[in-house]
Symmetry: C2
Amino acid sequence: MADINAIAKQFTDFYYTTFDTARANLSSLYRDSSMLSFEGSQIQGVAAINEKLTSLPFERVEHKVTTLDAQPSSLGVASLIVSVTGLLLVDDSQNPLQFSQVFQLIPDGGSYYVFNDIFRLNYGA
Amino acid sequence: MADINAIAKQFTDFYYTTFDTARANLSSLYRDSSMLSFEGSQIQGVAAINEKLTSLPFERVEHKVTTLDAQPSSLGVASLIVSVTGLLLVDDSQNPLQFSQVFQLIPDGGSYYVFNDIFRLNYGA
């Protein structure tokens, strides 16, 4: 599964760099069928997802990926599930937050779009 | 998405209860096409997955689900992605471990089987 891991790495590098530097540009990754579950809120469609992501209440954010796993998500098409765990630094906080995020990527004209996106912060025990 | 959340809840209740009480019975949930990524190890097929799950080196384990999210994973069939974060207590340890786990469930004769399963422990910052 070397290819799928390379795709997952390329995607997450792009996703988190874009998130951390120019969040509005993430909208190119979503379609009207795309779903985002963000801390339990369910949002559908590129416009609503872009509105949610750009209105998150912080100025600066930095994602650090700790683990990255990928699997083919279909026997029929070259879609994949990407599961990420990592750390998030927000604004001037010195305390990183743990997060988990899952994507399903669907092939689309030589590239991929995000059909599923589930984000959760993980609080300690 | 009430139905999908109910299915996800029913599945995870069954999965973790079975994991914590009779791990070998989890094999009924997998097929030969099923994939498990367990802490970075990639395993495929019901026999290999059962071998992995039953050989994990602890006697007693208890999963507690902290967050549970579900989304439809296909526009065509009634498959779903289930994303779980939670805590794990192993043997006599008093220190719960955080975990993240993602499933894709595929409908199959009135029930579902696990096509994708990605498990990771989350270590602190």
